[in-house]
Amino acid sequence: MVEATEFPQLSHRYGVRSVPLTVVNDKPAVTGALPEAHFLDHILLALEEGKAS
């Protein structure tokens, strides 16, 4: 967990506008709360995309 208001530079870096925002390996990936299975699929997808880029 990162408290967005205490670390404004980091929040700015990832463009945090609404919370929760989940950053996957340094890239903003999921906004909001999702059911577990759905959330994990988004994370794994972001991980794959990060690998490709």
């Binding site: 990162v2 670390f7 929760p20 989940t22 996957v24 577990e36």
Partner: protein
């Protein structure tokens, strides 16, 4: 002055009956504590006093380079939850508001040595071939 009110404390003690194995809460702060550093440390100390299964270690972010490196801490206040091993759980900033509930739940999970994840999620995660670093940004409200 204590941060936890009497009825909060009673509710937390009730939730802590679910604790099983010991959990070490490692807090990183510094000599001249920022407001949230001091509050975070006090909150954790008050919390740990509510169960014999919880212990606290406080480290100085500036002076204790070994521990800072060991837990890979790059900002404070930082709170690390450790069970039989370091599961990579970090709270940066004060775990207050909704995140206080998250902290309590995480303490119980670490104590049970069980993430509570579904079997299917565990399988997918076990198949990971590269490091996965998750940062969840939240606000205290």
């Amino acid at each position: 002055m204590s941060l936890l009110r009497e009825n909060d404390r009673a509710a937390i003690i009730k939730q802590f009956t679910a604790l099983d194995q010991p959990v070490k809460i490692i807090n990183f702060t510094q000599k001249f504590e920022c407001d949230s550093c001091q509050e975070t440390r006090e909150l954790i100390e008050e919390l740990a006093a509510l169960s014999g299964k919880l212990s606290v270690e406080v480290h100085d972010f500036v002076e204790n380079k070994d521990q800072v490196a060991k837990y890979n801490i790059d900002k404070i206040p930082a709170t690390v939850l450790v069970g039989d091993k370091d599961y990579g759980i970090r709270f940066y900033g004060i775990p207050s508001g909704y995140e206080f509930a998250t902290l309590l739940e995480d303490l119980v999970m670490v104590s049970k040595r069980d993430s509570g994840l579904a079997e299917d999620s565990r399988k997918k995660l076990a198949a990971l071939t590269m490091p996965l670093h998750l940062q969840v940004f939240t606000t205290p409200t």
